[in-house]
Amino acid sequence: MDRLKASKILLIGALTIAAVFAIYGGLVGLVRAPLALPFLLVIPGFAWLNCPGNLKVADLAVLSIGLTLAMEIAIATILLLCGLWSPQAGFGILLAVTGAGLVCTWTCGR
């Protein structure tokens, strides 16, 4: 695994842990949003899009945000329409999706 890939995985891990700490740790006020938002806006998509290694930085950023928002819309809509509305559970699903993306990044190109 090259150094760039390792640093990406570290970044994803750090921001994921920060979001878990903010959301499940019950933080309130001004600290919670800055810790949770980077994960909620970028990371799940970024975790998956690390695999296509030939994306330019700008394309990677746009696609990561687009994919993350699309995932959240899909998860939130499914929970809503199935009568299972629970943002905490939805966050758990996002974490699982991010974990799967990390595994994909880890194994991709090995």
Partner: protein, 637 residues
């Protein structure tokens, strides 16, 4: 691979190589690098000047004195200097500083701030009445954890809840209960997203970074129709641009000569598509494998997210994907997936809404096409200020359209065919036949065509990487960019006397929404105020401005008895009239109640012993029947 290689013919003829994006300091010569670095500071100077003047001007703007010319009427004359500095700096940078890709990006970010952060900072509250209604749906989901697909109140939103569900989801996770504050910044955030996504799309059409960034500037200044607020369509449009960029850049089908050889028709179609695509840069088509699977899954999710969030965007996406499939730039799978997903959603999930709306839409098929002019403001009726704003909107649109046609002709003369981009301009046109979309369809068609119109308009100045950047071109581009940015302020913010709300007016409405009981009738002067953002299901809204002409005439002749009769209705547990300054600005500017009718109603209610003013600010009055006050509880004193 023949097709892919042949498409690049004109590029192969270049006498000197084009500096590709993202390659940064490609020339290895140290002297050239040093020279380029020495030029950075002067290149940043107009940007820094623009930001300094902009910040200084922010302190001198008083939105309360706004007239019918909107935001422009309260801007000091120096506030137009940032537009000039940015335009001059931006176009000079893209003409002279090819090696620093981040420089034009900084200018574009600054343009977004100047155009969209000014209202957000100055008004201090969420702009645009529909944004408040969207907060109401988020509030509903946060309180109930569900939607009511059969409700008649804002029913489209309950049937396409994707955006609202995600907003409620994120708001709950970050611990924000009131989204009105963060939503104020939605236009800035959305335009930054468009700014990031558009170059990915434009790189499918050209390698020339001058054309790519100019087209982005033209899009940002030409997107005056105001759908870039806290809305499903704002986010769905971002998905639309990303989806097209993804398909055009990375998901072109793998050439399969064996298949093509077997089908004479396919061969002919491929030859035609190849001719129409002449001059396009080679796409970064991914080989089959994990990368392609992940990007295809991304495209599928984007289609899904659009489908559950908005009615119109997925229809345009189907049309655009159909075009790409026809041009053999996309396998048919994504097009079919989009069609099936949208059909499933419309016919099954959103069936309660569609059952009501579909018969009307079917009856009106083709009508929208014949009534395009009916969607535009009648300049003979509206106030002089609004007539001027309407004129600017039309001139801005026309200016971009004419520049696009001229730019398209220049590209043609340089040997490019641009068949896909031309077809994508036309992708939203079928909507004109299918739906009127509440009279808004003309504007929505313009929005979906704008990214490609902007590309062709940019080609007016930079048709090919082979063409240099003479001073004349740079100056023309500066003037064009400046004119667009100035016109944008009039066109996008020209109705802000109606759309910008004072915080005390928001507080008055909030007081009513948080205290009035379930089953309340709320008679409003017009729907132009921050409405339906709390407890949306508690209220039935009746707008005086939307009443039939006979009903309005009766109301204007005898306001007190008519309104007393409406409010004295036992079907409702409480009834109120709300009249605000924004409603009055709208009614007066649009000529809905001629002869100061709105003011007459207000004065009649104030003078009548049958009505009681239960809450008032300098811009909002809330009345109820005097006889009804008893028994309402302590919240009404």
């Amino acid at each position: 691979m023949d097709g892919l290689e042949n498409r690049s013919d004109p590029v192969l003829l270049l006498s000197r190589p084009v500096v590709p994006l993202q390659n940064g300091l490609q020339p290895a010569r140290a002297s050239a690098t040093a020279l380029a670095q020495a030029r950075v500071l002067p290149a940043l100077l107009p940007l820094l000047c623009a930001l300094a003047v902009w910040i200084a001007c922010l302190r001198r703007i008083d939105p309360s004195t706004m007239n019918d010319f909107g935001l422009a009427s309260v801007l000091p004359y120096q506030a137009w200097l940032p537009h000039l500095f940015l335009s001059a700096g931006f176009f000079l940078v893209i003409c002279r500083q090819r090696s620093h890709v981040w420089l034009p990006c900084l200018y574009l970010v600054a343009l977004v701030l100047v155009l969209h952060a000014t209202p957000a900072i100055e008004y201090g509250t969420l702009r645009y009445p529909w944004a408040w209604k969207h907060l109401g749906i988020v509030d509903y989901i946060q309180r109930h954890g569900s939607v009511d697909r059969a409700t008649p109140i804002l029913s489209a939103y309950h049937n396409w809840p994707g955006f609202f569900a995600a907003a409620a989801f994120i708001a709950d996770l970050v611990g924000v209960r009131d989204l009105a504050g963060p939503a104020r910044w939605a236009p800035v955030v959305l335009n930054l997203l468009y700014l990031a996504a558009l170059p990915m799309l434009y790189r499918s059409f050209t390698d020339d970074h001058r054309a790519i960034f100019s087209a982005t500037w033209i899009f940002l200044s030409g997107n005056w129709i105001g759908q870039d607020y806290f809305s499903p369509q704002g986010v769905s449009f971002f998905f639309y641009v990303v989806l097209l960029g993804l398909c055009l850049r990375f998901l072109a089908p793998q050439p399969s000569p064996a298949t093509i050889d077997n089908w004479r028709v396919s061969q002919a179609a491929a030859a035609l598509a190849q001719w129409l695509e002449r001059g396009l840069p080679t796409s970064s088509t991914l080989p089959n494998g994990a990368s392609r699977v992940i990007l295809t899954a991304t495209a599928l999710l984007l289609i899904l997210a659009m489908t559950v969030s908005h009615q119109l965007t997925p229809l345009v996406a189907i049309s655009a994907l159909g075009i790409l499939t026809a041009f053999q730039r996309l396998a048919i799978g994504l097009f079919l997936f989009a069609g099936v997903t949208v059909a499933f959603w419309v016919l099954y999930v959103a069936a309660p809404f569609v059952a009501v709306v579909l018969p009307v839409e079917l009856r009106d098929i083709g009508v929208a096409m014949g009534e395009l002019s009916a969607n535009l403001a009648d300049i003979s009726v509206v106030s002089p200020g609004q007539a001027f704003i309407s004129l600017v909107c039309r001139l801005l649109t026309l200016g971009i359209a004419i520049a696009a046609i001229a730019g398209g002709i220049r590209r043609l003369a340089w040997g490019y065919r641009d068949g896909i981009a031309v077809a994508l301009v036309a992708a939203p046109l079928p909507l004109l036949v299918v739906t009127s979309y509440g009279g808004e369809i003309t504007f929505r068609v313009y929005l979906f065509a704008l990214p490609f119109l902007a590309f062709f308009a940019a080609a007016l100045f930079f048709p090919s990487p082979r063409q240099g950047s003479p001073a004349g071109t740079a100056v023309s581009a500066v003037l064009f960019g400046f004119a667009l940015a100035v016109a944008f302020v009039f066109a996008n913010n020209g109705k802000d006397r109606q759309y910008a709300f004072a915080s005390e007016d928001v507080a008055a409405v909030q007081w009513l929404y948080e205290n009035a009981p379930r089953g309340t009738l709320l008679v409003e002067g017009a729907p132009l105020y921050p409405s339906q953002f709390r407890n949306v299901e508690y209220f039935t809204h009746v707008s005086l401005a939307d009443e039939p002409a006979e009903s309005r005439a009766e109301l204007l002749a005898h306001p007190v008895p008519v309104l007393a009769r409406w409010l004295d209705n036992t079907d409702y547990s409480a009834a109120f009239i709300i009249l605000t300054r924004n409603q009055q600005a709208y009614v007066d500017a649009m000529g809905i109640m001629p002869g100061g009718g709105f003011e007459k109603i207000k004065q009649a209610l104030l003078a009548s012993p049958r009505f009681r003013l239960v809450h008032a600010t300098s811009g909002t009055m809330i009345f109820t029947l005097n006889q009804a006050v008893r028994g309402m509880g302590e919240w009404i004193d």
